[in-house]
């Protein structure tokens, strides 16, 4: 667990050490749908760029304060020269703020190779699969141009198998979590998932296998009083102190749809057939696995997914972690709120910030929520 925590705590430090050790290239990427398998097959280290724990400093000069903490932190890290370890950065267009951050970083790092990866956001049109395949093919070609070597299908298949294995192992931890007796708390789960976004996948998988053996043989954790689901945070990891505070209020987190959680590992890539078609399929399946408010799919509802997850996990309520100024989340949240109120499932909205969070006040709100859930249960 210490090695997971170390990589989660200092992802760029991990990348630097890996680069010095292997002499290979590092590609940093914006979150969401980056196919790490492709970059891995191209013999590079793919890493999802992480929000820094440091306050925003020089970045204030490039992005307005009403951009989300993730984008402001990305730009701040770029301005301060923290991204020197990256040989390329892959941007996505999941929201307007990510696009703004991409422009600001591009200006700051003119010598860093930029790869722009665009995916169709309408998920249930007849042409969605085809257009997605085009995007993944273009990305493959660009990566080949960047590394100067072709990516063979066999290598891509091997990377897909490795990534699937890694995801599958983390899903086993999530299965244990549903029982409410998993020996890993929310911060440790975050370390596992976050480090998976950063570390060499083979190394991470090896450590994960050892961890799972250890966890499966460990005594069950003492159950806390209230079982809750955590939802939200599509790009950045919730701050560990927030997760700790929630659990200190007597909560057992039995499931989540966080990006630094189940959302990241929910869906596997088909291992048979054309790998590009497989990646396109994975992209489509991810949105039915755990719906994303940045995608449009008429036959998929995030709120219905959440209610179903809560039933399966036997959760008694949900805490929504909304990153301040996250437009897709703000846009979709009223539907979730309405659906939960209609279903009579208690939920609490917590708006999180990059800095200046009043934890004591938040704790009072979470404690009150726990008291409400308990009273409803008793009534």
């Amino acid at each position: 667990m210490q090695r997971f925590a170390a990589a989660a705590h200092d992802p760029l430090g991990y990348a630097k050490a890996w680069k010095e050790r292997t002499g290979r290239k590092v590609i940093g990427s914006f979150p969401m749908n980056f196919p790490g398998e492709l970059a891995h097959a191209a013999d590079t280290l793919p890493m999802i760029l992480q929000e820094s724990e440091d306050p925003i400093t020089l970045g204030h000069g490039l992005l307005f304060p009403f951009y989300c903490g993730y984008t402001r932190s990305m730009v701040d890290q770029a301005v301060r020269g923290d991204f020197g370890v990256l040989d390329a950065i892959m941007f996505g267009d999941h929201c307007v703020q990510l696009l703004g951050a991409a422009d600001a970083i591009r200006m700051q790092l003119p010598d860093t190779r930029v790869i722009f990866f665009q995916l169709i956001s309408s998920m249930c049109d007849p042409w969605t699969q085809g257009r997605s395949e085009e995007s993944f093919s273009k990305l493959k070609a660009e990566l080949e141009d960047f590394t100067g070597a072709p990516v063979a299908d066999a290598a891509l298949h091997a990377s897909i198998r490795l990534f699937n294995r890694n995801r599958g192992l983390i899903r086993r931890l999530y299965q244990m979590r549903k029982t409410g007796a998993a020996p890993l708390g929310s911060v440790e789960m975050q370390h596992v998932v976050k480090s998976s976004m950063v570390m060499d996948k083979a190394e991470h998988t090896q450590l994960l296998e050892a961890l799972i053996e250890q966890v499966e043989n460990a005594p069950a954790a003492a159950a806390r009083t209230v079982r809750l689901h955590l939802s939200g945070h599509f790009c950045q990891a919730p701050k560990p102190e927030v997760l700790t505070m929630i659990e200190e209020c007597g909560v057992t987190v039995v499931g989540d749809d966080l990006y630094h959680g189940f959302r990241y590992i929910s869906t596997d890539v088909p291992e048979e057939g054309d790998p590009i078609q497989g990646l396109a399929r994975w992209y489509l399946d991810r949105n039915t696995g755990v719906p994303c408010p940045t995608r449009v799919q008429n036959n998929v509802d995030w709120d219905a997914y959440l209610l179903n997850a809560i039933r399966e996990e036997r959760a008694q309520g949900m805490i929504v972690l909304m990153a301040k100024f996250c437009e897709p989340h703000m846009y979709y949240y009223p539907e979730v709120k309405e659906a939960f109120e209609k279903a009579g499932v208690p939920h609490l909205l917590i708006e999180t910030e990059h800095e200046s969070m009043a934890l004591e006040s938040l704790k009072t709100r979470v404690e009150t929520f726990v008291e409400v859930v308990k009273h409803r249960q008793a009534a």
Partner: protein, 320 residues
């Protein structure tokens, strides 16, 4: 079984204590200023309430704490958040209340409650002291006026001014500027209270406007705050007689629930008590050799128990 429970609201500027008997009636209550060492204020409040009730801490069956210092009280058996306790206390004071506005020293909250006094939804200030008693305190100091006098002076406002910042420090600058421009103290104070009311309406909007609305907390004693909040809400506020003790009362009531539930086997109603005694008398009358004078027969000359008052059995009887 002990006959009293206690609720303590360990607030930021005042400590409140309520002592209840097992029927849920207030036996004593106390409000004390915290002073520099908050623990002393709480001890003072608890001692005062105990003295008023003629009790010692050892006579208290259950103590529940609330407020920002709720976890620091050694005497507390349990603690609950001020939101849960204010909701419970406010509904006990005003049984048909559906919305509670509580403005205390360092936080303000709006709570929608169901008919059982349970929290349905809530919103509270989560960033600074905007719209709280502390906001008023800072501005009272800036305007060189006693906190207790602010409300009455603000009600004399003739001109509508605006304080745009809700940060106490920035608002202080605005207040000083307005005074320097020659505006009167009542007008400036009117603007200060209007700013609090607007902020409160924002919290109401997050929870949903509904009535009847009860206002608790120390600021409920400020007539200008009440006036401007009513104006913003366009609804009347119901003011309990002692709005400051709502949280402590709620804590005591929750403690009473727990204590009664735990000692249910020791508690019976008056009706059950009478029926039990009559039955025992009848049983005794049938014992061979009995002289026909049941030991436990009810003597009609005896004073009957007060309706609604819970009674404890003698311990030998309860274990029989």
């Amino acid at each position: 079984m002990k006959q009293h429970v206690m609720g303590v609201d360990f607030g930021s500027t005042t400590a409140k204590t309520v002592i209840l008997n097992l029927a849920g009636n207030i036996v004593a209550h106390s409000v004390a200023h915290m002073g520099a060492v908050s623990g002393n204020g709480v001890k003072h409040s608890m001692k005062e309430a105990l003295d008023l009730a003629g009790l010692a801490q050892s006579d208290i069956g259950r103590t529940v704490s609330t407020g920002y210092g709720r976890r620091m009280l050694d005497e507390a058996d349990r603690n609950y958040t001020e939101i849960t306790c204010h909701a419970r206390g406010a509904v006990a004071m005003v049984p048909d209340a559906r919305l509670v506005i509580d403005i205390g020293g360092q936080d303000s909250k709006v709570i929608s409650v169901d008919s059982n006094g349970l929290v349905a939804q809530f919103a509270m200030n989560d960033r600074c002291a905007a719209g709280t008693g502390k906001f008023l305190e800072v501005l009272a100091r800036a305007m060189e006026i006693e906190l207790e006098e602010m409300g009455a002076v603000a009600l004399q406002a003739a001109q509508k001014l605006k304080i745009s910042s809700m940060c106490a420090t920035f608002a202080e600058t605005e207040v000083i500027s307005l005074l320097a421009e020659g505006h009167s103290k009542p007008d400036v104070l009117g603007a200060v209270h209007k700013a609090i009311a607007t902020r409160t309406l924002g919290l109401v909007g997050r929870v949903g406007k509904k009535g009847p609305v009860v206002m608790t907390g120390g600021v409920a004693r400020n007539p200008a705050a009440v006036h401007y909040i009513q104006e913003e809400l366009q609804m009347p506020l119901v003011l309990p007689q002692s709005p400051q003790i709502a949280g402590a009362l709620g804590a005591a009531l929750i403690g009473l629930d727990d204590y009664r539930a735990e000692n249910r086997h020791l508690l019976i109603s008056d009706q059950e008590d009478m029926a039990h005694e009559e039955q025992m008398a009848a049983d005794k009358a049938c014992i061979p050799g009995c002289r026909g004078v049941p030991e436990f027969a009810v003597d009609p000359r005896e004073k009957q128990p007060v309706a609604g008052k819970a009674k404890a059995h003698a311990s030998t009887e309860s274990h029989a």
